[in-house]
């Protein structure tokens, strides 16, 4: 039993490492140029496959190791240039990565692998026609020996002979540095010549460098890819310099740069840090109260201040452990764009920037789906077909850009395409058809654009394989709102659309507004608050005798009595004694009725799920300065809940639906 236990622990590591290996393989394959593969990238892919094979064998996952073996031998042929890189090869290799991922998932879940699926991939792997590596245009070598080269016993002719052994060699001498023979400075024992060499060979740069190894210090040597080969490589370099660097980084330097730590350990550390901060503030309080004019008190205060500074810093650093670069999510997108383009017959490049921006792990996990959806939309609905683009005077290949950057306590993600932009006419027609608007309203451009975020909206008449599977922009928006973020849209017909997503850097800390209802203290996220106001009775009315609405600046917003929502007993004698906190997510507003508004403070969010389960209406809890627990109100959740009620009571009365008024 003990042995089994240990093995299963290692299995976890194996799965984790294999998953990383697969990601490295996938992004490597996407960076692989058809015809002229970068040997470094081929190596990364090969190494990843090799270690998965080895580890799978060790842990007894024979099906995985057998499959990877086939994959590995093909990669080995590519590596040793016995096999050229074709589009077909890349496609099949990508399929194999998917196959491997599937087998790993099955192994992890203890499920049965669908052997047919794997056999099919394996068959197409084995049946790949061997395309010879096309003869590369070759290497351009610029070789200018120092004048004293001949005196060191080296002879350029010998070098050329060795180069010639690698392939066809064309030699062009460069006389430009030759002084006139009649000149005094001419020394017959010096070498004044230089050579431009063109070597047609599939030899690697290392082989060439080796030939020049003896003269390296005695010459100017410049070795470049020549002709088409160079252009291709340079184009690729320019385009994804950043991602290629990141790829190499992840292939090489990961072991030294990071260690694997269980997330629970980090969370425990962060919890304890939070506690330390609380103890610190209690200590501060005690020392400040202790205000005797003792010499020692002054000294004590200094120490406590120092401790405070250190504590805050420590907490900040502890929080940063949870941060990961957003590249983890971005990495998967090139594959997505590539596959989409192929299935839709479109052409589009994806440009990624700011991949190193760091975000909290939880945010990272939850932002993946919305991003994938937005990228899908950009390619599916945004980018036009090559023909349409040409007719519209654009380059045939579209461009989708995604970027991330940190701005204060937020991370800004922008997704931009140079496609068709939103068709306002179509949107309006659709919204009327679906009864989302009555047709009488005068809507501004941005209001029309924002209609796409309403539930049940999708302009595509036929549901394609790609987007429009019933999950619409409303879900994207809701996911982002749930993370405490927002999404904005700018679009120009014919020019393209741009989405800007704003997210908090971390979900672990937020600014909270403390409010009181009866004896309980609740916390409203400050980000969600529009304003707080005294309740005026004349602005209050009821709908269907049940739901209360409040007129807030020409807009009716639902009013929620927090004591009812949370089953507390408020000590308000009259509603006008209470305070109304107007909150919003996205475009929907709501008023929360509280007894009293207290202070604002930064709170550390603790999940209720960790030891219990999610509780409706609550986003979590936090520990206040005095050590007691207070609940954090889930504003998006409450708004959704209350919208349900309002919709039920005012069926047919679209004027009350929030979202149209703002």
């Amino acid at each position: 039993m003990a042995v089994n236990l240990d093995m299963s622990q290692f299995h976890e590591i194996f799965f984790e490492e294999s998953r990383e290996g697969l990601e490295a393989m996938e992004s490597g394959l996407l960076n692989l140029n058809v015809g002229v593969p970068d040997p470094e990238v081929v190596n990364i892919v090969f190494r990843a496959a090799h270690s998965i094979k080895g580890a799978a064998g060790t842990f007894g996952f024979t099906n995985i190791s057998r499959f990877t073996h086939v994959l590995e031998s093909i990669l080995d042929e590519v590596r040793s240039r016995k096999r050229g890189v074709t589009q077909e090869l890349v496609d099949v290799l990508l399929q194999s990565v998917d196959g491997l991922r599937y087998m790993l998932d099955c192994a992890k879940a203890g499920a049965q692998v669908d052997e047919n699926r794997i056999a099919a991939i394996q068959e197409s792997l084995e049946n790949l026609p061997v395309e010879q590596q096309p003869k590369p245009a070759g290497w351009q070598i610029h070789f200018i020996p120092r004048p004293h080269l001949l005196q060191t016993g080296n002879d350029p002719y010998r070098l050329f002979r060795e180069l010639k052994a690698l392939g066809n060699l064309f030699i062009t001498p460069d006389f430009s540095r030759l002084p006139g023979i009649d000149k005094k400075e001419f020394d017959p024992e010096n070498c004044y010549l230089g050579w431009d060499l063109l070597l047609q060979s599939d030899a690697g740069i290392e082989q060439i460098r080796e030939i020049f190894a003896w003269v390296e210090g005695d010459c100017d040597l410049d070795i470049n890819l020549s002709g088409e080969r160079r252009q291709l490589v340079e184009r690729r370099r320019r385009r994804d310099d950043e991602s290629a660097d990141a790829l190499l980084e992840s292939g090489r330097g990961q072991e030294q740069a990071s260690i694997r730590v269980n997330i629970d350990k980090i969370d425990t550390l962060i919890n304890l840090m939070g506690e330390l901060v609380i103890s610190q503030s209690i200590l501060n309080h005690a020392v400040t109260d202790h205000d005797h004019d003792h010499d020692q008190t002054g000294r004590l205060k200094e120490i406590v201040e120092l401790l405070e500074k250190n504590t805050w810093e420590l907490q900040e650093q502890a929080m940063r452990i949870r941060m990961q670069s957003i590249d983890f999510t971005f990495q998967r997108l090139p594959r997505l764009v590539r596959d989409l383009c192929r299935s839709l017959g479109k052409q589009a490049d994806l440009e990624i920037s700011g991949g190193t921006t760091e975000v909290d792990k939880t945010v990272l996990e939850k932002i993946n789906d919305p991003l994938v959806h937005l990228i899908r939309n950009a390619v599916d609905h945004g980018i036009e077909t090559p023909g349409e683009r040409k007719a519209g005077g654009k380059a045939e290949s579209g461009l989708v850009e995604i970027s991330a950057a940190q701005e204060g306590g937020n991370i800004i993600i922008k997704i931009k395409d140079d496609g068709a932009g939103l068709d306002t006419g179509k949107i309006l027609a659709k919204a009327r058809e679906k009864g989302l608007i009555t047709g009488a309203e005068e809507l501004s451009m941005s209001q029309i654009h924002n209609l796409i975020f309403l539930p049940g909206f999708s302009t595509v008449s036929k549901v394609s394989d790609v987007s429009g599977r019933g999950v619409g922009m409303d879900v994207v928006k809701r996911n982002i709102n749930d993370l405490g973020g927002s999404i904005e849209l700018v679009s120009e017909q014919g020019k393209g659309s741009a989405f800007t997503i704003k997210l908090p850097l971390t979900l672990a800390i937020m600014d909270g507004q403390l409010i009181r209802v009866g004896k309980e203290i609740l916390i409203v996220p400050v980000l969600a608050i529009v304003e707080s106001t005294q309740v005026k009775k004349q602005l209050l009315s009821a709908v269907a005798g049940k739901t209360e609405v409040y007129r807030f600046r020409d807009e009716y917003i639902p009013l929620m009595r927090l004591d009812n929502v949370y089953g507390l007993s408020s000590d308000l004698k009259d509603i006008t004694d209470g305070l109304l906190i107007i909150v919003e997510t996205g475009q929907q507003r709501m008023g929360l009725l509280a007894d009293e508004i207290l202070s604002q403070q930064q709170v550390v969010i603790k999940s209720l799920e960790a030891n219990f389960q999610q509780v409706s209406g609550l986003a979590g809890a936090t520990v206040l300065g005095d050590g007691t627990v207070a609940m954090i109100i889930d504003v998006p959740g409450l708004i959704r809940h209350c919208k349900g009620i309002t919709a039920a009571h005012t069926a047919g009365n679209t004027a009350l639906l929030p979202g149209i008024h703002t």
Binding site: M1, A2, L5, N271, L272, G274, E275, I278, E520, V565, Y566, G567, L568, K606, S607, L608, A610, N611, F612, Q613, Q614, V615, S616, G617, L618, A621, V623, G627, T628, V629, A630, M631
Partner: protein, 170 residues
Amino acid sequence: MNTTTAAKDTLREQDAGTSQYLTFFLAGEEYGVNILKVKEIRGWEQPTLLPNTADYVLGVINLRGMVVPVMDLRKRFGMAEIELGKMAVIIVVKVTHSGRGRTIGMVVDAVSEVYNINDEMIMPSPDLGSTISDEYVKGLATIQEKMIILLDIDYLINEGMLKDAGNSQE
């Protein structure tokens, strides 16, 4: 997924042939839980109310930065309620739930003793009828002429509490 604790239990039982149980009182009856599940014992403090949950969920307390739910065992077992006062105690236990540890507080009337109980001393419980579902009872043991009801705390908390504790108003 409970292998770690299970393995520990097995080892312990093999070593001494016995397990240690912490016992506590509920309405005059003595109950026992395996001491390896117990993290700590705390004095009574008023938990913060947790809305929209079952009535036996009293709320949550702050356990060194961790938010821990507190369950009222009397209420859960349908016993007469008493005013929770100075004598009441919160036993904090750690159970495993779908591979993850969960820390939970249980309010009991008072803590009693720690007993070594040999597996052979544990008798299967008879049909207990209405109050406590006998699934939650591991067995009965007799110590110094007293009967002790040994609880299967993992099962009680996972199946008997967490499953139907939330969102009772929805």
